[in-house]
């Protein structure tokens, strides 16, 4: 008798699991159930967003830019634009720059951009 009953416990456990997996693939879905599931997701997303906010550093130190080099400060606009063109060609199409319209860029902004490129590409 005991063995038969043990089998029943085991078989019931297996079939409710296997049938559950089938229901998971092809179960009934109602609008209310879907709304509930979306509500659970929304609630978890809120918790996740809160967790991310809580884990942001309290203050982010601002890194001061290095002073412009004497070499770049000595260069006139035409030389700077020529150097910038050379650097862009050397870096290739992968490079992206925040400023494209050089006419609207001050000489020092251009020097700053060139210095940044040179620092990242270890040139200059």
């Amino acid at each position: 008798m005991k063995n038969t009953d043990d089998k029943d416990v085991r078989t019931l456990d297996i079939i409710t699991h296997e049938v559950g997996l089938l229901e998971m693939e092809d179960g009934r879905k109602s609008t209310e159930d879907l709304r509930w599931a979306e509500g659970v997701v929304a609630s978890m997303r809120t918790k996740i967003a809160q967790y991310r906010r809580d884990n942001l550093p309290a203050s982010v130190p601002i890194k001061k830019a290095a002073p412009l080099t004497a070499r770049l400060l000595a260069m006139p606009r035409a030389a700077l634009e020529a150097l910038f063109g050379t650097l862009v060609a050397a870096v290739g199409p992968e490079a992206q720059f925040a400023h494209r319209n050089l006419d609207a860029l001050s000489d020092n902004d251009l020097r700053r951009m060139i210095q940044t490129i040179e620092t990242h590409t270890k040139q200059g």
């Binding site: 009953d5 029943d8 019931l12 559950g20 229901e23 179960g27 659970v40 997701v41 967790y51």
Partner: protein, 225 residues
């Protein structure tokens, strides 16, 4: 077929003897990759699928005497997700998907709830059968562990009910016989019952209909029937 039944540990949260999956006393602070993976895999489709998975498991719990309804299936899902997020249930995204982890958690917890549905004494459900009577006699003879005896009793009655509804379906009966004989995986059942994959699949679809009808009835009556 998966090996869930072989590996699932006990994870019922609300019981005295808590045995969660890889619990730790250390506070849980998931790193960014973990959070990103959790967020990506946690979809409404997965959650609704898990609710459907949990319903037959809820049926077994209800049959064991615990008063549960359709909201119990939702609670199983919601608790497993919430406890994974809080670290009560430890999930390693490198080892398994969130889906697999949550199925395991729901499987384990529902199993534990079924085993510990002791607050609801057995009632013969008004369907006095040979199986029911034999199980009563068997249960009363096991003094050492009355909880285990009650569990056997409920399982015996439930399986008698399922077998009765499947009596005219030879393939489903063969599948149940295979499980009784010790089969666990699809390969075991196919080998034991000497059936083709397609036959196995179709038999499970019909078995699903039987269990679904019983589940619908049981959960709709809020565990009272």
């Amino acid at each position: 077929m998966t090996g869930f039944t072989d590996t699932a540990p006990e994870t019922g949260r609300n019981d005295d003897s808590d045995d969660e999956i890889e619990t730790s006393a250390e506070p849980f602070s998931p790193d960014a990759p973990w959070v990103n993976t959790f967020e990506k895999q946690l979809t409404a489709k997965l959650i609704d699928g898990l609710r459907n998975y949990a319903r037959p498991r809820a049926y077994a719990v209800a049959r064991a005497g615990r008063k549960v309804d359709d909201y119990y299936a939702r609670e199983l899902v919601q608790d497993a997700i919430g406890d994974t997020w809080s670290g009560v249930l430890r999930w390693d995204p490198q080892r398994c998907t969130l889906e697999h982890h949550l199925i395991r958690a729901i499987q384990s917890r529902s199993d534990k709830h079924r085993k510990h549905a002791k607050e609801n004494p057995h009632d013969a459900i008004g369907d006095f059968t040979g199986a029911s009577h034999a199980a009563e006699v068997s249960a009363s003879s096991v003094r050492a562990n009355p909880e285990e005896a009650a569990q056997r009793l409920y399982s015996r009655e439930t399986m008698a009910l399922i077998r009765g509804l499947a009596a005219d379906d030879k393939q489903v009966t063969r599948v149940l016989d295979a499980y009784d004989a010790g089969a666990t995986t699809k390969e075991d059942v196919v080998a034991f019952a000497k059936m083709r994959d397609r036959t196995y699949h179709n038999a499970h679809i019909r078995l699903k209909r039987i269990v679904r009808a019983l589940t619908d009835h049981k959960l709709a009556s809020k565990g009272q029937a």
